[in-house]
Amino acid sequence: MEMFFYGFMQRAFQASFLISLIAPILGLFLILRRQSLMADTLSHISLAGVALGLLIGVNPTWTNLLVVIVIATLLEYLRQIYRTYSEISIAILMSAGMSLALVLMGINDGGATLSMTQFLFGSIVTINEQQVWLLFVLTAIIGLLYLVFRKPMYVLTFDEETAFTAGLPIKMMSILFNILTGVTIAVIMPIVGALLVSAIIILPAAISLRLSKSFNGVILIGIVIALLGMLSGLAISYEIGTPPGATITLILMIIFAAISLIKYSLRHIQLERLYKKSDAS
């Protein structure tokens, strides 16, 4: 229980709680829009944003947000160009982001390398009050947007052409969604680390997608799963001194495996009963 006495651990738990609320919402839409990898791309881009901030001596949170918003907008155009292979835009920008980050770090070698590792792997000690507040505001915004725009987003993710003919501004919606995803990643990247940020956004929704047959159900179950993974992962990482982002991701993977196994066995048992019944009759 001693971990709760430390300010940084309290902030880490607060942040994890908030991330658990937003990750499944974004994750579900990213998966259904076949953009799961976009989170990865944006986190690499976001790394370049941080490197830029460190280089020119501006608070990296701001340069990070700026760079990610610009790229998230650009992503929609690339997605239009490579309509049938939308992952190309993702691959291009992912490598661009990573190389830019490395080059900027190279120019700025010296003290910054240390803080760069923090951004790569995430560090709970780096969370400050301001970040928690930022995350809180972001959670409130995303929750509100989901409640208001649930129906248009449902139709947009079901089929973009249907959404277009129903009169929805699909381009604008896609861009705004990308920007929101970008901002979220920029905000949580320093906490969980650039390498694992997408796992934390995608996994809870990916798991709960197999457990519910409705949109709201997926999001609610996703939140429970995210909370379970994030909070226990954080506690374990503190106890045994492992990196929090990686610990959380592993726990989520274990939940994923366990649920797959349970679903598989249940199906097996059901089938067996069915066969027995038909044998008996």
């Binding site: 079901f158 052409e161 277009f164 003919t165 009169g167 997608l209």
Partner: protein, 235 residues
């Protein structure tokens, strides 16, 4: 008043001309069938009409209002609509209800009237009993039907349908055509439908447009009773 007015439309994919000199109209109460061989750019023509593609020449006008002076509601069923992501987390009921959203319900609760439309649409395609199933668990033909139910639930003024009967048996097709004819004749809907099965539908449709072409030239409009202008030979 025309719901759709296509005038001298031409469309190119990059440099390749695929449609040329297409002109026709679809009015309220029209049930128009659009046919043509495989590769006759029928879908491309629909996509131009819907605004998903921009014509290279000529124009497409969709009436902004319906015949009662309200905003025109368009219902579109694309060819691949039924091949949606099987993991999409939605029940049949939720999906068909989403057809009502475009009737001013993006930000409002569905009311009794909406639910009534949804129930009747599901019943008309024989899928009401399946309403609580996850859409990913349905068969191809069932998916097709709920896509149609979704569009019927929207109660559009203008139906634009791209081979909606693929995979249906003869009897369901006949019923579907009857339903469409009823909609056009009794409720004044305009219908433009791409289809393959000429013979059966002939008794139901009120106009027939066929896309034809001469050797090595783009597809043009040719019609029994509706196209105004037959194409001149390709120069």
């Amino acid at each position: 008043m025309h719901y759709i007015e296509v005038e001298k439309l031409a469309f190119h994919y990059q440099d390749e001309p695929v449609l040329e000199n297409i002109s026709f109209e679809v009015d309220p109460e029209d049930f128009v069938m659009l046919t043509g061989e495989n590769g006759a750019a029928k879908t491309t023509l629909l996509r131009n009409i819907l605004g998903l593609l921009k014509p290279s020449k000529g124009s497409v006008r969709l009436s902004p209002k319906n015949r009662l002076g309200e905003k025109l509601v368009v219902g579109y069923v694309s060819q691949q609509i039924a091949s949606f992501n099987t993991g999409f987390p939605s029940t049949v009921l939720e999906l068909v209800q989403s057809g009502r959203y475009q009737r001013g319900k993006w930000f409002k609760r569905l009311d009794k009237d909406d639910k009534e439309h949804v129930r009747r649409s599901l019943e008309s395609v024989g899928m009401w009993e399946m309403r609580n199933k996850k859409i990913g668990e349905l068969s191809g033909g069932q998916k097709q039907r709920i896509a149609i139910a979704r569009v019927c639930a929207a109660d559009p003024d203008l139906f634009i349908l791209d081979e909606p009967t693929t995979g249906m048996d003869v009897q369901s097709r006949e019923e579907f055509y009857k339903l469409l004819r009823h909609n056009s004749m009794e409720h004044g809907k305009g219908i433009l439908m791409v289809t393959h099965d000429h013979e059966e539908i002939r008794h139901y449709a009120s106009k027939h447009i066929e896309l034809v072409r001469k050797e090595d030239s783009p597809w043009r409009c040719f019609s029994m009773d509706s196209c105004k202008e037959l194409s001149k030979p390709h120069s």
